[in-house]
């Protein structure tokens, strides 16, 4: 579990470098990614695959908006790297793998799962960005002042 979180953090951090997020936000990006993956792992014990991804993406999107208001930076800076661990890259791979090995049933299955995960991410982003900007501004500002003190 700890290992997984560190890996999620390192991966998110690496992608924030690739998308040239400003240096001072590398660590925040990493933390958001790790929290998202942590949510996914915890929810995964009780809920289904897609629901867990939905919960994790909700956390990532929420934190991204919060941090973006706190440090007055556009939200994609945190949202794009943070969502990377949740994007169904593995699902696409397994689908291909099963297509090549002629296991059509399994291929359909993993493709379908990948699609479900993608839809869960879509839903999470749409829901979180539907919330009014104001509540994030208020929460973000309070949070940031606390951090300074």
């Amino acid at each position: 579990m700890i290992m997984q979180l560190i890996a999620a953090m390192a991966g998110t951090l690496a992608f924030s470098i690739l998308f040239s997020v400003p240096k001072k936000y590398y660590l925040i990006c990493g933390l958001i990614g790790a929290m998202g993956w942590g949510t996914y792992l915890v929810c995964g014990r009780h809920l289904g695959e897609a629901t867990s991804i939905l919960a994790a993406a909700l956390v990532v999107a929420f934190l991204s908006r919060l941090v973006s208001e706190a440090v007055m930076c556009p939200s994609p800076l945190f949202l794009i790297p943070g969502l990377f661990p949740l994007i169904p890259g593995a699902g696409i791979y397994w689908m291909t793998y099963y297509i090549v090995t002629d296991e059509t049933g399994l291929a359909m299955d993993s493709g379908y799962h990948a699609l479900k995960q993608a839809v869960a991410i879509v839903l999470a982003i749409v829901l979180i960005f539907e919330l009014p900007k104001k509540c994030f501004t208020v929460m973000g500002r309070t949070l940031y002042r606390k951090e300074i003190k």
Binding site: A10, A14, F19, V21, C73, L77, Y93
Partner: protein, 260 residues
């Protein structure tokens, strides 16, 4: 305000919009920044229309002379720091810190800002590959192999596919290359799970920016741009899948089924 000034304001707004769109901002952010810049410099009759690869701005009313500007913006790399910088610049313009000339100079400077060094990006790509390999179930040896594959993949993207190949062919060959490298590691070096190595190493190719921005655009009601970006993302996903599929197929045939 004479007409020359309005021209300069629209040029500034266009430049800011161009940098934003170029570097992975959402459509509504581009529109908002253009609108804010024009509002601040009292160009009231501005109308802007932003697509995923073009910006159209017109000015003109009974009191302001007509002026129009159209710019085509091909999709290129993602530099979120530039998006943040332009966003900040728009805030500062709102506060009245700059004249049009100063703001234009500032935007030009942001546009020319140097990228992260190539070496660092290659290392980051390797690190990302290794981390995702571990995340999806690989062990440390697999991650080390994924690091190598991710590193080489990014070198390929920087020096071959970026400048010389189209997106489709570039991603196809990129994922094929990754598969071949991972299969090589699997066969000759003690990496034990080829699947996890490949999953980790294709992550730098995965179109995360296009995918997330597509969702944001569609959520904001910019259906055309959202659909174009989603198509872009899906196309890349399919290319990756085809490249990996080819790779696995070739290797397993050459090695007499040792892989599968």
């Amino acid at each position: 305000m004479d007409s020359k000034d309005e021209g300069a304001v629209v040029e500034l707004a266009m430049l800011a919009g161009h940098i934003l769109l170029d570097n992975g901002a959402e459509i509504f952010r581009v529109e908002e920044v253009i609108q804010r810049i024009c509002d601040h410099y009292q160009v009231t009759s501005v109308n802007e229309f932003v697509l995923s690869n073009g910006i159209f701005i017109t000015v003109g009313s009974s009191v302001e002379p007509a002026f129009a500007r159209v710019e085509h913006i091909p999709v290129s790399g993602t530099h979120l720091d530039k998006v943040a910088a332009i966003d900040r610049l728009a805030d500062e313009i709102d506060m009245g810190l700059y004249t049009v000339e100063e703001a234009t100079a500032k935007a030009e400077e942001i546009r020319r800002r140097p990228e992260v060094s190539r070496m660092l990006r290659c290392l980051a790509s390797g690190l990302g590959s290794a981390a995702f390999c571990c995340l999806f179930g690989g062990d440390l040896a697999d991650s080390a192999c994924a690091f190598g594959a991710g590193f080489i993949l990014y070198l390929f993207m920087l020096y071959v596919s970026g400048p010389h190949l189209s997106k489709i062919v570039g991603n196809l060959i990129g994922s094929l290359l990754v598969t071949l490298i991972c299969a090589f590691f699997y066969l000759f070096v003690p990496g034990r799970h080829m699947n996890f190595m490949i999953i980790g190493s294709i992550m730098p190719l995965v179109p995360g920016v296009a995918f997330v921005n597509a969702i944001r655009d569609i959520a904001d009601g910019d259906y055309i741009s959202g659909a174009v970006r989603m198509l872009d993302a899906m196309l890349i996903f399919v290319c990756i899948a085809i490249g990996v599929g080819f790779g696995i197929d070739i290797i397993s045939r050459l090695s007499g089924g040792a892989l599968l």
